[in-house]
């Protein structure tokens, strides 16, 4: 019996330290326990290494996702959903029946009027996708993109909306998509976290709650890669400690932990040893990841990593250098996916254009268009697009009505609009070159193929080979899902 036990521990440990693919040891360990019925009710994953790769429910199309989150809600009728009728009706009121039951964040209903758009839309690609003149580069990728013009959500305030888009419900304390994917599939990456967050611009409404693991263990939380200092908090050795000393210290920690494990045969000690090994690997791999010196000049130029911000008066914060930071983040996203990171989140804030929309949207779109198109093409060229899901999204859309908030110049921006907004997906098993859904002639309501956020999430999980109804976690007596109690895979999106 004793020897058997040692063997299990050794096996388990070896698995943590070496396995990248099989994880057989841990699985065997878990199944042994299961056979006794003692683990039967424990929530999956049962293996001791929570990031061990796990098989999906069925064959996946995607194995990585880059979710570009444009915080604040970009105006869909100025970017993705042309509404020439708005120019015709510019300055007119909406029929009362339409706005009667609606709650707005800031619009005063009595005097609100429709606001036209100066944007020119042209057709792109073989599919003839209509996109705004603010997105010329993206236009060249139209045939790879599935543009959804019929998204809708339940929330019309930013933070609840952002939680909804990330967690499927508008409440704090729930895991995000990235956390769910890492929980469901584990991470194949041995020296970087499975869920990485990159930011540019100012702080978002949701702060760090947007990459929280919620009730899941913190193994599944997003790890912020910073734009300054250490790429990961506490990555560098502290003052005075050379890498040689760090190495010596870690060796001693390993040896002493192993000695302890001889006395106290707790697999948790093995788990600690492997965590320290991964930490040490990250100390090398994260700086290597951030170092773009190996990228070709052509690549750097394609992403536009050296572009300066154009001058803009009274923007929405975020300071100078947003163009560079955002482009760099797009390039880093590709490098992360190349290294096996499961989920990359790129945040940029803010697109909350209640006023001065034309100038600020031009600034933001100018920042986003080129690097995102470059990312898409780069992934494609490297053969990564087939398995990498690329998403542009936000928490909701903006109103066809101009905003007339008291105390501000009216109708230079738009208010929050949860009933119909646009986002797009590409790669990772998504059928490109199509426009899904339709809104009415002023973009107020969806008239065709509505997709709720829960449906959107169900579809993402499906692309990863996961059944959104089966990916659950028991918390406070309930089996929670990313899709809450709803969600339906939108088949038309699938290639």
């Amino acid at each position: 019996m004793e020897s058997n036990f040692r063997e299990i521990v050794q096996l388990t440990r070896r698995d943590f330290l070496t396995s990248t693919a099989s994880g057989l040891g841990a699985l065997a360990f878990a199944s042994m326990l299961k056979a006794d019925g003692l683990l039967a009710k424990d929530p999956a994953p049962t293996a001791r290494n929570p990031l061990e790769p796990r098989p999906p429910h069925f064959a996946p199309k995607a194995n990585a996702c880059i979710f570009i989150f444009m915080e604040g809600a970009p105006s869909q009728m100025d970017l993705f959903d042309p509404k020439p009728k708005l120019n015709e009706l510019h300055g007119q009121k909406l029929p009362e029946s339409l706005v009667k039951e609606v709650r707005f964040a800031f619009i005063q209903k009595d005097s609100a009027v429709i606001m036209g758009s100066p944007r020119q839309f042209t057709k792109h690609g073989q599919c003839g996708m209509e996109l705004s003149d603010l997105l010329p580069h993206l236009g060249s990728c139209a045939d790879d993109i599935a543009l959804i013009r019929s998204m809708h959500t339940d929330q019309f305030n930013h933070h609840p909306g952002q939680l909804m888009m990330n967690c499927g419900v508008a409440t704090f304390g729930k895991p995000t998509i990235g956390a769910w994917l890492n929980y469901g599939l584990g991470s194949v990456c041995q020296n970087l976290p499975g869920y990485v967050v990159l930011t540019a611009g100012r702080g978002t409404s949701g702060g760090a709650s947007l990459w929280s693991s919620g009730f899941l263990p913190s193994n599944y939380a997003g790890v912020l890669f910073r734009n300054q200092g250490d790429p990961v908090l506490n990555l560098s050795n502290p003052p005075g400690i050379t890498s040689e000393m760090q190495h010596l210290g870690l060796d001693a920690i390993m040896d002493l932990n192993k000695l302890r494990m001889k006395t106290v045969a707790d697999p948790e000690i093995a788990s600690r040893i492997s965590a320290y090994e991964l930490a040490f690997k990250m100390q090398t791999s994260a700086p290597e990841l951030m170092d773009l010196s190996g990228e070709s000049k052509a690549t750097l130029e394609a992403y536009g990593v050296d572009r300066d911000d154009p001058r803009l008066k009274a923007d929405r914060g975020g300071g100078p250098g947003q163009y560079r930071a955002f482009a760099r983040n797009c390039l880093l996203a590709r490098r992360l996916v190349e290294r096996g990171v499961r989920f990359v989140n790129i945040y940029h804030a803010s697109w909350d254009h209640h006023s001065n929309l034309n100038a600020e949207l031009k600034f933001n779109a100018g920042m986003a268009d080129q690097p995102i198109a470059a990312l898409l093409k780069d992934l494609k060229q490297r053969g990564l697009l087939d398995t990498t899901l690329l998403i542009w999204g936000s928490e909701f859309g903006r109103t066809p009505l101009g905003e007339n908030r008291i105390g501000r110049e009216p109708n230079t921006g738009r208010d929050h609009h949860p009933f119909a907004f646009s986002l797009w997906m590409a790669g990772g098993g998504v059928k490109g070159g199509q426009v899904i859904g339709e809104t009415d002639e002023i973009g107020w309501s969806i008239v065709k193929e509505p997709i709720h956020i829960n449906d959107f999430h169900a579809t993402i999980l499906h692309l990863f080979g996961l059944d959104h109804e089966r990916l659950t976690y028991r918390f406070q007596g309930r089996d929670f899902r990313l899709t809450d109690v709803a969600g339906k895979v939108f088949e038309k999106l699938l290639a």
Binding site: R6, G207, G240, V264, E268, A279, Q476
Partner: protein
Amino acid sequence: MKRISTSHILVALLAVFTAANVDANDGASPASKAESPTVSPEHSSHSHWAFKPPVRPEVPETTTRTWIRNPIDAFVLSRLEKEKLAPSPEADRRTLIRRLSFDLLGLPPRIEDVDAFVADKRPDAYDLLVDRLLASPHFGERWGRHWLDLARYADSDGYEKDTARPYAYLFRDWVIDAVNRDLPFDQFSIEQLAGDLLPGATEAQKIATGFHRNTLTNKEGGVDQEEFRCKATVDRVSTTATVWLGLTVGCAECHNHKYDPIAQREFYQLYAFFNNASEKDLPAPGPAELAQYRQEKERWDEERDRLQSELAAYLREKAAANQTAWEQKVKLPAERWAILTVTKAASAGGSDLKVQNDGTVVVTGKNPDKDTYTLEATTDLKNVTGFRLEVFDDPAPGKGPGRSRNGNFVLSEFKVNVELESERDWKSAATGPATPQESRRAGSPHPNPLPKEREKQAAPAATSDRSKPAPALESTLPLPKGEGRGEGEGIAKPIEGSEHRKSRAVTPITLQQASADHAPKDWPVEGAIDGNAKTGWAIDPQFDQRHVAVFETEENIEVPAGAKLIFHLDQQYGSQHTLERFRLAATSSSGPLKADLMPDSIVWILETPVERRTQKEKDALAKYYREVVDPSTRTLNGQLVAHAKKESKFPETKAQTLAENEKPRQTYIHIRGDFLRKGEEVMPGTLAVLHAFKSRKVGQASSLPPVEKHSQEGPSSGSKEGTGWKPVLPDRLDLAEWLFDPANPLTARVTANRIWSRLFGRGLVATENDFGTRGESPSHPELLDWLATEFQRLGWSRKELIKLIVTSSVYRQSSEPRSELLARDPNNLLLARQSRFRLEAECVRDAFLSAAGLISPVIGGPSIRPPLPSDIAALGYANSVKWKDSEGADRYRRGLYIHFQRTVPYPMLMTFDAPDSNVTCTRRERSNTPLQALTTLNDPVFYECAQALGRRIAGQPAADASDQIRRVFELCLSRPPTKAEFDRLTRLHEDYSELIRRAPEQAAPIAGSHGGDAGRSAEIAALVGVARTVMNLDEFVTRE
């Protein structure tokens, strides 16, 4: 006896009694029934173990008796014997004291305490240790923190704005204190749920209601406040049910519970208890704050009284005589001023100019950067030699005569024109010229106090009627004497758009001399008449008083009756340096004119013989003398004013509490959880599947007469039928007391189980937050029931129950995994050993700070902010999170005092699985991640601990390096190293020393800036290397 009316209560009761039978009702129409699951109360409510009250079980007999220390052991051992398993041996003393210290205090034991306990030969040494730890004030921190997990305690609002809650700590302090004084759990709970409703509620009991103020608040622009009030109320219901009942009622917010017999209607019955509570911030300074305030205030009062009595004595004894002397020698100004009647006032910048009865122009509304005021005024003076501009201080604090931020203004140019209508047949001219007296009655509220008219005007006209037209005009052309000097005078031009063809003769008046009572060097009043808009008159730094400027005309101007004086007050400095309150006057006195601050009214009084002065005038003069003239009173008053500014402020500390609304809010079912879709109205009530609900106001519910038919009306219908009867609804206090009804099957079990789980790493019921039908069954049902009944028998004493558990043989077992157990019982459900698990986030920090000798033992008070990189704080919304690192000993406070900002939680806490504080947390995850390793290896706080430990050891007498290595090990792990461990550390120490010998420049940064003895940096650095290694061992962050 109070007559109890039925109808309103009946609704509630019916709801309670029928709820279990209400199936599939989401609060909407019956049509929606099909979509909801069916609750089968017959099945679940009556057979589920947790819904039956615990019955005190017999303590089982066991074969082995020697192991039994108390009944807990009998229950566990009897099960082990059935499984043919032996319990583990007792852990060694070092492990025991370490385990107890972490479990009871959240801190590692001091090495002296370890040694003492190991050496303690008394038979009750263990019990004595337990008693000592239970009596430590750190016990309240440890077990208070457990409670704060449930209370979702945080120091900010949550959501986008995430405003800090600087006084949230008052609730934390209350919890720590209540746990330390072992406030019985029933009272502990009742005070938190309904402390405000207790008879004669104390401040502390009200602070206790802060439990349910830890809900989130959304201050994002454009949110519907009612929506988030409802969300907070929903959270209060769910949290209450989870914490005290171990039930997940949250599902029933939107529909009937899928598995447990909880109807949606019942959820809203519970909701009704909390719906009637309002958030109230209660001034609640702490004793120390209050004592300091009172002390300061007392000193301040004393000084004020002294100054006041000094002033009173002066006024009583000397002031009158001094005033008489002054009156006799005072020189009155030579000029006599006539207040101008402003008939029109306009602003080029869009400001709003209003003329007061006393002739003062007050500017409000839009506040442009620059402005030009144009004023049209009339005067009764026949000729004019100068003008006066008075500016008045805005009485509001921090304001002045100007509209700029500090109350300043710059008068760039002061220009005057005389204007006359030249059309002869202007209609109103037919009414004839008004006499000065008539004109005064008509529109001039403030008579022109020219000397010859003065006596007639002793009582100024009090009213003004601005609707009347300005006084009629004579048609004489107003030309200054010496007409014809130069071009530009007397230009007649037609008034555009006028009904009648009229023309104006506008003549500029040349001003030659200006003076003011005060002007700063760079902004002399001459600048206002030099034709240069870049120069002008300002008043800094004397903003909070009246000022006067006078402007002499070059010549004596003849003003024909009916002529208008047109003033242009040009203010071109920018940044709102414009006038807010001012008044214009003119004079005929011959120059040179002086800017005398003596008000006109005082001049009049002084000119009146003493015996003819009215009392009012005497009073006004005396007041003027004291406030403006008398140096003695002015000095004393000045001291009083200065003293008033120093008054100590009452501490702003406000406790977040709940208070009951006087007028109850009506509660409706929210259809599908949508607060905008109101369903049926419901009354406060509890869950039918549990014990009966009693309200202390309406007696036992079930004793009420039966209801004839189900009424859907609220209490208002009840008040209709009886006279003088007021609806008495059950309230939160009833709910809280209901939780501690002896018939309640859940609260004692749930709480005992939770306490158990903190001491064994998991509960007897593993799903400690779900005692419903979907939860797991208890591993030791009899033990759970015995503990639940024992807890009540012990008067709900937390400390007593903990003592009972930690003194059992079960608790004292070794936690080492046993090979035969790993296969049979890997999760240690059978309790054949203790559990071994990683410390919680706060304890990890505390263990580092303790070993380093840095930890601050201060208990309670405001939260602290350890160092945090600025870009991490900047993740909060638009840079709104302000994170100022704490200084001094506050940097080393325990982890539970770290400011918890909900949208940007302190990274170390989250990395180690601290709850995110947004919903109640009954069990923390225990993850094991690379980020944790990076934190304890490299985070500045943790590195500082390793450095401090290295220095600490270096500072103690030691024979040699081996001795020092042993001490590091013992300080960190409460035990001596094994030979293998010691050898490995010795090797590390040698390697480190060698590296430092080769790179001596590394020694100082590793030894740390506080190294002191520079000559020993190399020695210290090597010890820091050892300390950092030991502190990163699994054992260091593990409670065994």
